[in-house]
Subunit: 216 residues, 2 copies
């Protein structure tokens, strides 16, 4: 299975690429293919140092959408509309949204669009046959890149396509010590996304670093 | 310090009374004082069996509001307006809302009032000098009553009065293995409340029981 990362050269995208390329064929996408190739170098070098396998390919975001079976949108909310407007070919694809629309004022606030969540907004931008799942929202970006550190978090997954959700949960359960939990239909996305500003506030108010969650 | 429980004869209220009466002077409130006395009997009997101390008093909800320094509103959202309308004397009191407005359709949904959360709605019902904190929202009701079992959960607390919040966090940290986390101002209440329908869905979709959360 080919896992594509649109925005694969950002902090979260690159960390995801590093971890996923040891398990799957990963397509790293960027607006700038040159940057995507740099990220691939990074992944290959890190894997080589550990004697780990690594399958990674640097491409444009459009080539990633065309070539991947599962597409992770590792982009900030503010770039979502613009990025999707410049891409086509999402028909039938599994699309993972780890996107959290939020603002920092006195504290971090969840600021969803009119549809109720970033994922529900994304649904209006993509063809009906695309299969959107929400996942990976509540893991601090820099934790992805600390590849020597285990990720010991719970990952709530929601979506309306049971098969797509099962595929996404299987991917999650193969990454480090992540554990996936089915959180129901896509309408649950607003709650999952909103946990991110909550854990950011908890980190700030309690002098903690990289707060995540576990369901127990 | 006297901790009062309005609705102290419901499942969560009674469980809270059992645990808190070993640490604080607890005032158990009910619309029906007779029921409150029954809950007190329950607490005293359970404590006696373990040779634990127990300080508990059965009263009307109104007497609880008058006598307690900290008041926990252990009532369902649908009874919030009616209960508060029948009570007075909240001026200056610390009021804890563990209330989660939600509905069960195909899955559990968070259904907040126009103000954005149950706690923000409560703020419009209480005098300005009352000091509202949100806490205890995400712990399954029946876990409170299993007094032989530890409660090993994180408790997110939010509120606009720093002193009140510190008092509430101190109470939390004395109960079983609960650990309090400052989650910021009262506006964060919607996220904390919404985690309850999320964990209920996770329990249902993943065949788990009494799912709670930990911040890690």
């Amino acid at each position: 299975m080919k896992v594509g990362i649109v925005g694969g050269t950002g902090e979260i995208g690159e960390g995801m690429a590093m971890r996923l390329s040891r398990i799957y064929e990963v397509l790293v996408g960027s607006r700038d293919e040159h940057k995507a190739l740099e990220t691939c170098e990074c992944c290959l070098k890190a894997a080589d140092e550990k004697g780990m396998p690594c399958s990674v390919q640097g491409l444009t975001n459009q080539e990633v959408v065309e070539g991947a079976d599962v597409i992770i949108l590792a982009i900030p909310y503010k770039h979502l509309d613009g990025t999707i407007a410049g891409l086509h070919g999402f028909e039938g694809k599994i699309v993972i949204s780890p996107i959290n629309p939020m603002e920092k004022k006195d504290c971090f606030l969840y600021v969803p669009p009119a549809e109720g969540s970033a994922a529900l907004h994304l649904q209006t931008l993509l063809p009906e046959s695309s299969r959107i799942c929400v996942a990976f929202n509540n893991i601090a970006g820099n934790r992805w890149r600390d590849i020597d550190e285990e990720l010991e978090y719970s990952v709530a997954v929601c979506g309306d396509d049971a098969e797509a959700k099962a595929t996404v949960m299987d991917i999650i359960d193969r990454i480090s010590l992540l554990k996936s939990y089915d959180a129901g239909p896509l309408v649950m996305s607003s709650i999952i996304e909103s946990i991110t500003p909550l854990v950011l506030n908890i980190a700030r108010c309690n002098r903690m670093k990289d707060v995540g969650i576990r369901f127990v």
